[in-house]
Amino acid sequence: MSFAFVTRGRIGFAAAALAAVFATAAIAQTPEELVNQRQAGMKELGAASKALNTMAKSGEINATEAVKAANTAAQHAKAMPNWFAKGTGADAGFKTKARAEIWSDTDAFSKAAQQLDAAASQISTAAQAGDKAGFTAGVDQFNGSCQSCHKAFRAS
């Protein structure tokens, strides 16, 4: 019994140490780097959005292109909370459309990023299965996640 505790304690310690390493890796990026990274990332996300919406509108789905765009979206959705680390807002002197609500309502912000991730995986699955209706629904979900997140967290 006590052995189990020790083991669990060790695993806990190892996990904490690992987390600390990752946290340090994140902190190693300067706020400037994060702002540049997210602005470049958002542009890529825009390009992915354009590609997906063009396919959804025309009904001609190129599975390779769709999966590529969905992967970009999924990857960026996961990176997003880190892109908007504390100290990268207008109050830190950055020229940014990011609203202060990102840092006062972090739960809602993370949730929005997760919605994007979920939409991306639906798009990817549907595109690979040749499921047109699923693809269109995924793009609608993708658009909705962009709309609602920007509505709350970005200036016009």
């Binding site: 602005q39 958002m42 542009k43 996300l45 825009g46 390009a47 992915a48 959005s49 354009k50 590609a51 919406n53 020229k95 940014t96 459309k97 609203r99 658009n143 962009c146 709309q147 997140c149 920007h150 509505k151 967290f153 970005r154 200036a155 016009s156």
Partner: protein, 295 residues
């Protein structure tokens, strides 16, 4: 439990139907008024959306360089809303910026645009507002430092900057262009945010639609004249229609903040024909060079 479920199911059934856009050509003045209400963007300012306040009961904060304005309750509540107003008083508020007690409104209320409204639209909008549920909610005081807190100055302001005039269609222009001009300049009051203001808070109409670095909440509002570098000169008519319909720009980005609210509550609910009319009108504007902060 069963009853709750069936109520939820009923709501689910009613949901899509009630989400249908109002028909501007309906025989019912309330439905036509709902369309005017949406085109006029009344909801976004008269509802505290962020604070999840009751619909049209006001209290939404509008931050400006002059202080913070709070929108009033426009539900038909007799004491705290517009329940005791006459149709004439309602028309005077929209057209002349005049309160029923004779005092003037701050131009945070865009009567400077609504002044152009047609008699029919005002009557329909009145019918729609009277059909909404009354909500008891007293109006908060604006939070303005002097001299802006002195309401009598507004009469002077109105005399200096306000032109009391109905919309006059230009007979040399196509019908769609005129409809677009009416929607953009009057009902949609687009120029109120997309135009820079002078030190007295009046629109600089020589720079109409050329953007405003200091828009509501201190946020920049883009130049939407067809200037190729600083405006939207490289957007097609379809691009503008898509933005008004779903908030997506030609590069796949989505508008945020105030414009996202405008799209959701107003332009997404217009007919395709009306969105196109706005696009036709905006494309016809003179390109004005004015770089407004972005990114």
């Amino acid at each position: 439990m069963v009853r709750t479920l069936s109520a939820a199911a009923l709501l689910g059934l009613l949901g899509p139907a009630s989400a249908l856009a109002a028909d501007p050509r309906s025989a019912d003045p309330v439905e036509r008024g709902e369309y005017v209400f949406q085109a006029g963007g009344c909801l976004e300012c008269h509802t505290d959306i962020k604070g999840k306040g009751p619909e049209l009961a006001g209290g939404r904060a509008l931050e400006s360089p002059f202080g913070t304005f709070y929108s009033p309750n426009i539900t038909p509540h007799a004491e705290t809303g517009i329940g005791r107003w006459t149709p004439e008083q309602f028309a005077a508020a929209l057209r002349h910026g005049e309160r029923p007690d004779g005092a003037a409104y701050y131009p945070a209320f865009p009567y400077t645009s609504y002044t152009g409204m047609t008699d029919a639209d005002i009557a329909d909008l009145w019918a729609y507002l009277k059909s909404r549920p009354a909500v008891e909610k007293a109006n908060p005081e604006h939070d303005l430092p002097p001299p802006f807190a002195w309401r009598w100055t507004l009469r002077v302001w109105r005399g200096m900057f306000f032109e009391d005039a109905r919309f006059a269609p230009d007979p040399t222009k196509p019908e769609a262009w005129n409809r677009g001009a009416y929607l953009a300049n009057v009902l949609g009051h687009c120029a109120e945010c997309h135009t820079p203001r002078n030190l007295m808070g009046a629109r600089d109409d020589d720079m109409a639609y050329a953007g405003n670095a200091e828009g509501p909440g201190g946020e920049a509002v883009p130049n939407i004249t067809p200037h190729p570098e600083t405006g939207i000169g490289n957007w097609s008519e379809d691009d503008i229609v898509t933005l008004l319909e779903m908030g997506m720009t030609p590069d796949g980005d989505f508008v945020g903040g105030e414009m996202a609210l405008v799209v959701e509550n107003s332009t997404a609910k217009l007919t395709d024909e009306d969105r196109r009319a706005i696009a036709i009108y905006l494309k016809s504007l003179a390109p004005l060079e004015n770089a407004v902060a972005s990114d």
